[in-house]
Subunit: 174 residues, 2 copies
Amino acid sequence: MPGAGKGVFRKIVQNSGFSVVTMGDVVRAEVKRRNLKATPENLGKVMLNLRELDGPAAIAKQCVPTLKQKTGKMVVIDGIRSLVEVEEFKKHFPDFVLVAIHSSPKTRYKRLVNRKRSDDPLNWETFIQRDLRELGIGMGSVISVADYMIINEGSIKQLKNKIIQLVAKVLKDE
Amino acid sequence: MPGAGKGVFRKIVQNSGFSVVTMGDVVRAEVKRRNLKATPENLGKVMLNLRELDGPAAIAKQCVPTLKQKTGKMVVIDGIRSLVEVEEFKKHFPDFVLVAIHSSPKTRYKRLVNRKRSDDPLNWETFIQRDLRELGIGMGSVISVADYMIINEGSIKQLKNKIIQLVAKVLKDE
């Protein structure tokens, strides 16, 4: 969910030498290919159009060739938002595991308020609306069936330690 | 989610002297009131009928008077499955907090297989279908916006300790 700590996760695994494939980059690349500006509006439209053309797993499908090119013991996919995407990745990668990070709404709100630029303040209402948008496309179902869950209510340092431990555990278990 | 440890949670808080209101009991009471047998089929039909008559928060609404009669520092509601139910409870109880328990699908499956009677075996397919039914009514959204999350991948003893710690924390924080 927004503000749970996905960005820290990405940074840690990248710094540890693992590749990260960001699902949003597929949309950004397609916007560029269509000679459009990367405005939030165009990104949203192209995302919807890709799904119209190729179904709800469209973005995931486009990530598969990129993922197959990557080397190393583990590749991280950033930005899974629905169960159909999970199914798509599992089809191609039998060792696929799903990791979720949970923080309470109160904690996530505080983080997002601190992160926001002061000329564009965030209020609780807007925050809840954004949560509901993410949940509306099935994010909650993905989180609930995660193979590994990290609770992130403390400091970034604590989160970093949890992520490093988790990566070691995943590489050992799977 | 099924097999995550909800039953252990209920038992622990009851043994600690707190009241538990089980949402399924509303449906069971209504089935009895209508002079029907408490078969899974009748329970399912009456549940749907209550929602038809009084909207998706019907079961939650019927729990409110029972909850208000309870005394003690804390009352536990067992069986919340959608965000409208959360909203209903928040409206009546400003100190409402939402607790979720997470276990990986692999762990939950193992537990449910062990719990099942041998004449009615559970397979992975049936397990996934049951998960999808729960997620289909919005369970994933509820889990994702929990104020407190417990990870339950270990023993019952470990879970018990986590629950006791959580209850103490909630009573202190809220």
